[in-house]
């Protein structure tokens, strides 16, 4: 098995783990972590592409994704904190007051 295939498989597996975590967890912080894993899976793929093509543009994109992930974590954690302040049980399914 070539190293590219290995990285591809790792990336796909990480993405699947992240997606499953985001879908199955009901704790806001756990969901955020799962989303981070999905982002990292995508980043791994971008870095692989950068290696194969040998350009700097894809590596720059990977850095942008890192910044994006940090920004997302800031907003997400702030939301989670606000959520904890209002509720005793940290369950995202409870936050459905403005449905429909």
């Amino acid at each position: 098995m070539s190293s590219e295939t290995l990285v591809l498989a790792t990336s796909a597996m990480l993405f699947a783990v992240g997606a499953a975590g985001a879908l199955l967890h009901r704790h806001p912080v756990a969901m955020l972590m799962a989303v981070e894993i999905m982002l990292n899976a995508a980043n791994l793929l971008i870095v692989l592409g950068a290696r194969v093509r040998g350009g700097a543009d894809a590596e720059a994109a990977a850095l942008i994704v890192l910044v994006l992930a940090a920004a997302e974590a800031v907003i997400g954690l702030a939301l989670a904190l606000a959520f904890f302040r209002r509720r005793t049980v940290p369950d995202v399914n409870e936050a459905a007051e403005i449905r429909g």
């Binding site: 997606a19 985001a22 879908l23 199955l24 009901r26 969901m31 995202v92 399914n93 936050a95 459905a96 007051e97 403005i98 449905r99 429909g100």
Partner: protein
């Protein structure tokens, strides 16, 4: 000047921004910053029309998802004429509103909405293709809603505004469908009739039908008439500008603009004529049974728009345009004259309350008389006779049944307008002490009436001038209106109108109370039932769709994941 006129949709925007940001500061002078907009529009449009030049502005790929997504605005003689009408009536309505809204705390908001309307209407008229037309079309609908519901605390105004919005939405939907089904590259209004543009599944007939539905919704024709009488819940200057002179005429304008396409669709033409005649007659009857002064005039507007539709339907677009032109002057005159009496009676609109009060307002009385005479078509000295005769003569010539029905309908016109005039302006006043008069407030309103009186008399003489400058933009013009219009159908129409007027006067003398508040007031033609049915259906659909928004986060996440998977699958399988 046409190059400048092609940007006319901008003219009202500086006033909008200034008034909205509170300039001038003094509440008494609120709205002054908005005044120059329509005047500039009138002057530039009139000069451009006189010069007869043509100019257009095009920005390609502005809305790339539409067949013709360019931003096209077209200032040709036809749009210049419409913009001149808009500028003329709007200038006077702005002036009038300074008096009418003088004591209203929401005066600033009122002028901001007015500016929004003028800008949207200018966009509509200048539209060179369906995409831009749709923007103007929706814009005037929204400003109409805002202005109908202007006094939002008054019961019923919000409902009336929503009705207007709903009826307009039907028209917007038809127009959007039309913009979507035309083949790629088509959408310019003046080339819709070309062979490559009518190559859609339904052909020219279907495209024309969609435009007709859009026009009928805007102009309150056929089953879509219901919103216009209720739109009278808004302030009277709005009734004059939007719901009599300009916006409701947009439907007629669209049909005149696309007359070449309609000529390819004989069945749709027949439907337009039939709907126009039926609406003209039914609305005339309904007007006679109104207990509310403004609603009586509103049904008259529906009826007159019916005359214009009938003219388009028999293939005489210029006659329709000519009537649009004169009607704008005399119907705005009728509304503004009525508004002076209503303002004097502290906003009451019931005919029983207003009985006899008109005699205290000489400008209003003369204005309403001239407007009424123009409406029933007094030959030689009123504008209405020239344009209405053109319609009736075209009808008699091309579709005799249509012509005869329209001719007979004039007696109904005389009946309803004679009734309103006799009750408000001729009858003795019940209680003169209910009239409040304030010369300072009345002055701008009276001034605004004078140019409209001149217009209601003189616009008819401009027929041959219009023909000379319009070129072929309003279709082939077979009969050029002469300066002396003493034709047999015209005289017959006036005689019928005068008879109706006299009968109405006699009836109002004999049984004054019954005339002012008729017992059989249900003239809704069952509109409430089917409007309710549509509203219920819409509610059922939206409450079903609302269930998708459960608020449960994992479900949303699962939906997004499914969508991503679907997109990937489609991409992969298409490769």
């Amino acid at each position: 000047m046409s190059e400048l006129l092609a940007w006319a949709w901008i003219f009202a925007l500086p006033g909008l921004v200034l008034t909205a940001s509170g300039i001038p500061k003094d509440q008494k002078r609120a709205g002054y910053a908005s005044l120059p907009g329509p005047v500039v529009l009138l002057v530039i449009a009139a000069i451009a029309f006189a010069q007869g030049t043509e100019a257009s502005v095009t920005y390609l790929n502005w809305l790339p998802f539409l067949a013709d997504g360019a931003f096209r605005s077209l200032a040709d003689p036809l749009s210049a004429l419409l913009l001149a009408i808009l500028g003329f009536v709007a200038s006077l309505v702005y002036l009038y509103s300074l008096g009418y809204m003088a004591d209203d705390p929401g005066k600033r908001r009122f002028f901001v909405y007015l500016d929004l309307f003028v800008a949207s209407m200018a966009t509509l008229v200048l539209a060179g293709n369906l995409a831009v037309l749709l923007i103007g079309w929706t814009g005037v609908g929204i400003s109409s809603f805002l202005l109908i519901s202007f006094w939002r605390d008054k019961p019923g105004t919000l409902g009336a505004g929503l009705q207007a919005l709903a009826a307009n939405a039907i028209g917007d939907g038809a127009l959007l469908l039309a913009a979507s089904i035309v083949p790629s590259g088509c959408g310019a209004l003046v080339t819709l009739h070309t062979a490559e543009c009518t190559r859609n599944p339904g052909g020219a007939e279907f495209l024309a039908l969609l435009l007709f539905i859009a026009a009928a919704a805007k102009s309150a024709q056929g089953p879509l008439y219901f919103w216009l009488p209720n739109a009278m819940a808004g302030p009277t200057p709005i009734s004059a500008l939007i719901h009599a002179a300009t916006m409701v005429a947009a439907g007629v304008y669209l049909l005149v603009r696309t007359h070449a396409l309609l000529a390819l669709a004989p069945n749709t033409m027949l439907a337009i004529a039939a709907v126009g005649v039926a609406t003209a007659l039914a609305a005339s009857v309904a007007s006679y049974f109104q207990a509310n002064f403004k609603k009586g005039i509103a049904y008259s507007t529906v009826a007159q728009l019916g005359y214009m539709f009938a003219a388009v339907g028999v293939g005489a677009p210029f006659a329709a345009l000519f009537h649009l032109f004169t009607h704008a002057a005399f119907k705005a005159l009728l509304f503004l004259a009525a508004g002076i009496v209503i303002h004097g009676a502290a906003g009451r609109e019931g005919l029983l309350d207003l009985r006899g009060l008109g005699r205290f307002f000489p400008y209003s009385r003369w204005g309403f008389l001239i407007g009424s005479l123009a409406l029933i078509g007094m030959p030689l000295i009123t504008a209405g006779s020239y344009s209405k005769d053109s319609i009736i003569e075209a009808g008699l010539e091309k579709q005799p049944i249509v012509g005869w029905l329209l001719l007979g309908g004039v007696i109904l016109t005389g009946l309803y307008i004679g009734r309103l005039f006799s009750i408000v302006y001729l009858a003795p006043a019940n209680d003169p002490h209910t009239v409040h008069r304030d010369p300072d407030i009345e002055r701008p309103m009276n001034w605004a009436l004078v140019p409209l009186m001149v217009g209601a008399v003189a616009f008819g003489w401009l027929g041959s001038y219009l023909v000379g400058h319009l070129g072929d933009t309003a279709g082939e013009i077979e009969h050029v209106p002469s300066l002396i219009n003493l034709s047999l159908p015209g005289l017959a129409a006036f005689a019928l109108g005068a008879i109706g007027f006299a009968i109405a006067w006699w009836l109002s003398q004999r049984a004054p109370a019954q005339a002012a508040a008729p017992a059989s007031a249900d003239t809704s033609y069952g509109a409430a039932t089917w409007v309710r049915a549509i509203a219920d259906a819409g509610y059922a659909v939206s409450s079903g769709l609302a269930r998708v928004q459960s608020g449960v986060l994992p479900r949303y996440a699962f939906g997004s994941l499914l969508a991503v998977a679907a997109i990937v699958l489609v991409r992969v399988s298409l490769r």
